[in-house]
């Protein structure tokens, strides 16, 4: 057993086998029926040494066009924000990252207190009374929120804005497919391009669909097009119908935008990757989940709570466990067990470093820079307006060249272009969703706009 990760030496193995009272390692496996025991080695590659592995992985990474050397204008739910170096210095503390879920609170106060702080920050951002310790991602958080609403209201219909992130909707549809829950999509409003409401939730449709069967209304703000929705009015409508209001909100935007809680939402969920977590090709992400007090005991997942130790000192434990699978089994509020604790810690450290001011500044720069880009693109005459509502960090335009083609050319020049909306919204054929974070400089944006317009002027077509 020669491996730097298996300390047992040959001699020790013999001694241990003797202590156990077997003659060979094979004997330990005699409970496995003979015909099931593999006769040959697994067909996987021969082992590499650490240095060979490193070279191999470096070579693989070089097949990727990453955002450290390409300029990223792609968002659509995952964002390329600046991450202070101190974040990783904390999350790479071994006591944090090599621990399991804090089942033994007395030696887990580090993780537990950090979760408690995380819950507080998420509650603050979202204007809610409580948050859980994290879920897998924004999409599954939404799925859990819908389940909560259905159970709470004992109703079976859910109204969801079509401008909610398509990934989230897909996860929701798969998860609810055989649940008997009916999901209805509410279109976004479109009339003329100049209409300030275009791209936002179509309230008339909402009005006509909402009724006493509605368990929840789900909207996202900023929505998938970057546009800010009227959570307040939607909440009112939901409340009137006895449904819960679920708002999907970007946490960075909450540095400057009013919290969903203050606007009347009952549940706020979303993707907290932008809070200090690298994009990581889409995972791990960080689903946050926050509620008003009536729903606390219906929340899914881990929750840390404050208590005292036998000497009266403040301490933290996992609490309200009666909701959870290891106690309630099939009656649990959710099946989640392992969540995204380290990503939650990352968000907590990120928020601590940025602080109230820094978060506002990031949000502010996202607005300024995305507006600057938006206007420059329109002014270039090579991209058309699509919507006219206020947006955050991300906007839709219709360039003269097909987005897919445009992206290909941009990539060759070191730019990761926007998102081709036609993939998910056939009605938005030719539309391009462009994200601009605080990381982009004016020079980079100017170059981007120049390149886009020169490509469009070149008249490339599919």
């Amino acid at each position: 057993m020669k491996s730097s990760y298996i300390p047992m030496t040959g001699e020790q193995q013999d001694a241990m086998l003797a202590a156990v009272g077997v003659n060979s390692v094979e004997e330990l496996f005699s409970a496995i029926p003979e015909e099931l025991r593999l006769k040959e080695d697994l067909d996987i590659p021969a082992p590499l040494s650490e240095y060979e592995l490193k070279k191999h992985m470096m070579a693989l990474s070089q097949q990727n066009f990453d955002s450290s050397w390409n300029l990223c204008f792609l968002g659509a739910g995952i964002y390329d924000h600046f991450i202070p170096s101190a974040v990783k210095h904390i999350t790479s503390r071994q006591e944090f990252y090599t621990a399991y879920t804090p089942y033994q609170p007395e030696i887990s106060q580090g993780v537990l207190q950090s979760i408690f702080e995380y819950q507080t920050m998420i509650s603050e951002l979202s204007g809610m009374d409580a948050a859980n310790a994290s879920l897998y991602d924004g999409a599954t958080a939404l799925y859990e929120a819908v389940l909560l609403a259905v159970r709470h209201t004992d109703r079976k219909e859910v109204l969801i804005a079509r401008s909610v992130n398509p990934e989230y909707r897909k996860v929701l549809y798969s998860g609810l497919k055989y649940s008997g829950i009916i999901i209805k999509e509410i279109e976004f409003y479109t009339s003329t391009v100049e209409d300030k409401k275009s791209g936002t939730l179509d309230f008339d449709r909402l009005q006509s669909e909402i009724n006493e069967n509605t368990a929840a209304v789900v909207i996202q703000s900023p929505n998938f097009f970057g546009i800010i929705e009227d959570i307040k009015s939607a909440s009112q409508k939901a409340r009137e119908a006895g449904a819960l209001m679920i708002a999907v909100c970007d946490p960075i935007s909450l540095g400057v935008l009013e919290s969903p809680g203050a606007l009347g939402a009952d549940i706020a969920v979303g993707e907290a990757q932008p809070l200090g977590n690298p994009m990581n090709f889409g995972g791990p992400l960080l689903g946050y989940f926050a509620v008003k007090s009536p729903y606390i005991r219906r929340m899914p997942g881990r929750i840390a709570g404050q208590t005292t130790d036998s000497e009266g000192r403040r301490g933290f434990v996992l609490t309200l466990q009666a909701r959870e699978q290891h106690i309630r089994r099939e009656k649990a509020t959710s099946n989640i067990c392992t969540n995204q604790a380290l990503c939650a810690l990352t968000a907590t450290v990120y928020l601590s470093l940025m602080g109230r001011k820094g978060l506002k500044e990031v949000a502010r720069q996202c607005i300024d820079k995305s507006y600057y880009t938006y206007r420059a693109l329109l002014e270039s005459g090579q991209a058309d307006k699509v919507f006219n509502a206020p947006f955050f960090r991300e906007f839709v335009v219709k360039p003269k060249t097909d987005p897919e083609l445009l992206n290909d050319v941009l990539l060759a020049e070191g730019i990761i272009g926007g998102y081709d909306l036609s993939k998910e919204y056939p009605e938005l054929e030719g539309c391009w969703l462009v994200a601009v974070t605080e990381k982009r400089t004016k020079d980079e944006i100017d170059m981007f706009v120049r390149k886009v317009s020169s490509i469009c002027q070149g008249g490339l077509q599919k």
């Binding site: 593999l38 097949q63 739910g77 879920t101 607005i367 605080e438």
Partner: protein, 484 residues
């Protein structure tokens, strides 16, 4: 240890900053003009205002109140807390991986896709399955995915009466919870006196309303289900599918494969068997493998190789759809991939062998002082009962708390539910015999104290940052957030 009980919020000072950002070099947008009334935040958020040194000290000191595998022995049964090789952390931090956006053109992400593709192949080989999806973010989500596939499979055959999922009473809580969530009726069957599935009970329950059976093998008692071939034959015969909860794969890598046992779907926890760190509660990764017949039902996208390129295949009409955004916890997969690449076929097998030998060694060394309900050769973990000690007033929980004082993370307690005063011990292969001996000695000393001085064991832990915490109080009056 430095005692500083304040929360980060309690260290906040108005006006203090811990960030630096480039100065804004574009014109400022007039916020109220642009967004109008009521859209902008009227108060808060109460995010702390602290400096970088405050943050570093606060969380560094918090970390020191935590215990990880790198702190010491962590025989938390069912969790496979093996050592996490450091190189894997470095690899996951490479910009060329961590700074990739999931929606980039796949041609610009060939490195990521190749890793997904190869990982699919490697895990399929290890599990004895046809294909693997890496989308699920954890074991429980793997289960959910598997159950959705079971549902989709039966529905695709218009076999709509299959509403039941069978789980043994020794199963992990996520199993019934996932089954219920997937819309099934959960039927629990008892274990027999040998700790395995009760074959008569199984026989009785099997009929055409059974959609499937969930099993972990070795089971949560650390015992290999010797009747597994019989079981799978029976379940298949009645038209059900078999789901393998792979949390215990660390016992049998390269030794036996769920696919060969007759399982149709199997998940593995990369954060257990494949040594990705658990992060204090995630992120994990719970890929599932399926047999050939079930491949069409896998979540989209499936990563395929076309000519020399890797592509995302979304065009799969029978697919259950998506269970999570994008493709899975890539950076976790990356670490597990690196682990497999370093271990190779022999290394994985050795790991399982050593894991099993270690568990048996501890079992043997404790069998005289503790009750071992199913005392035969175990797999990578075993269950003991503190019943004998409990009669003296020393519960499994007390023993656990005393272990804290001795510098150990205790075994899992009170799971599986079918054993009284359970302690589930899983040493893993990365622990040395010396560590096992020291732990055994401590466990023996505690057992002796339980005889001679039970009262003395009731007040642990004493050497920890906090002493025993009042969980009842926490649940009764939930304080879930700090308030200014």
């Amino acid at each position: 240890m430095i005692r500083d009980e304040r929360l980060i919020f309690e260290k906040s000072v108005p006006g203090r900053i811990g960030f630096t950002l480039p100065a804004n070099d574009v014109p400022e947008v007039d916020l109220t003009e642009t967004f109008g009334e009521g859209v902008l935040r009227s108060s808060g958020p109460e995010i702390p205002e602290v400096s970088e040194v405050d943050v570093i000290r606060h969380y560094t000191n918090l970390s020191r109140r935590n215990y990880g595998v790198d702190s010491g022995f962590y025989p938390l049964g069912s969790c496979t807390m093996k050592y996490n090789p450091k190189i894997n952390e470095d690899i996951a931090s490479i910009d060329g991986f961590s700074q990739m956006h999931p929606l980039q053109n796949p041609m610009s992400a060939q490195g990521c896709l190749e890793i997904f593709y190869r990982m699919d192949k490697y895990l399929a080989e290890i599990l004895g399955m046809e294909r693997v999806t890496l989308q699920p973010a954890a074991g429980a989500q793997g289960e959910m995915t598997g159950l959705m596939i079971i549902k989709a499979y039966h529905m695709s055959r218009y076999d709509e009466k299959r509403v039941k999922i069978i789980v043994p009473d020794s199963s992990h809580g996520t199993n019934p919870a996932s089954a219920a969530l997937a819309g099934f009726e959960v039927v629990q069957i008892p274990s027999d006196e040998k700790g395995c599935v009760d074959m008569t009970a199984l026989e009785e329950i099997l009929d055409d309303t059974v959609a499937g059976l969930m099993l972990t093998n070795p089971n949560t008692l650390g015992l290999f289900e010797e009747n597994i071939l019989k079981i799978s034959e029976m379940v298949h015969k009645c038209g059900g599918l078999l789901y393998y909860d792979g949390a215990n794969m660390n016992a049998i890598m390269g030794i036996a494969r769920p696919g060969d046992m007759g399982f149709d779907i199997a998940h593995v926890n990369l954060h257990k068997t494949f040594s990705t760190p658990h992060g204090g509660g995630g992120p994990g990764s719970g890929p599932i493998g399926v047999v050939k017949e079930l491949v069409p039902f896998l979540p989209v996208p499936v990563i395929e190789k076309q000519d020399d390129y890797y592509v995302l295949d979304y065009d799969r009409p029978l697919s259950i759809g998506k269970v999570k955004s994008f493709y899975g916890n890539f950076s976790v997969v990356l670490k597990a991939f690196s682990y497999i690449m370093m271990m190779g076929p022999q290394g994985l097998k050795s790991a399982s062998q050593a894991a099993v030998l270690n568990a048996n060694y501890i079992r043997k060394k404790l069998e005289d002082l503790y009750d071992i309900p199913y005392n035969r050769i175990c797999m990578h973990e075993f269950v003991l009962s503190a019943d004998r000690q409990a009669q003296k007033g020393v519960t499994a929980l007390d023993i656990a708390k005393n272990l804290l004082d001795e510098g150990y993370h205790p075994p899992t307690v009170y799971f599986p539910l079918i054993v009284h005063e359970t302690m589930m011990i899983e040493p893993t292969e990365t622990e040395s015999p010396e560590t096992l001996d020291a732990f055994v000695e401590t466990m023996r000393r505690i057992a002796q104290l339980a005889e001679t001085d039970p009262e003395g064991l009731k007040h642990a832990p004493k050497n920890t940052y906090v002493t025993r915490l009042d969980e009842v109080k926490a649940a009764r009056n939930p304080v879930l957030r700090w308030r200014p």
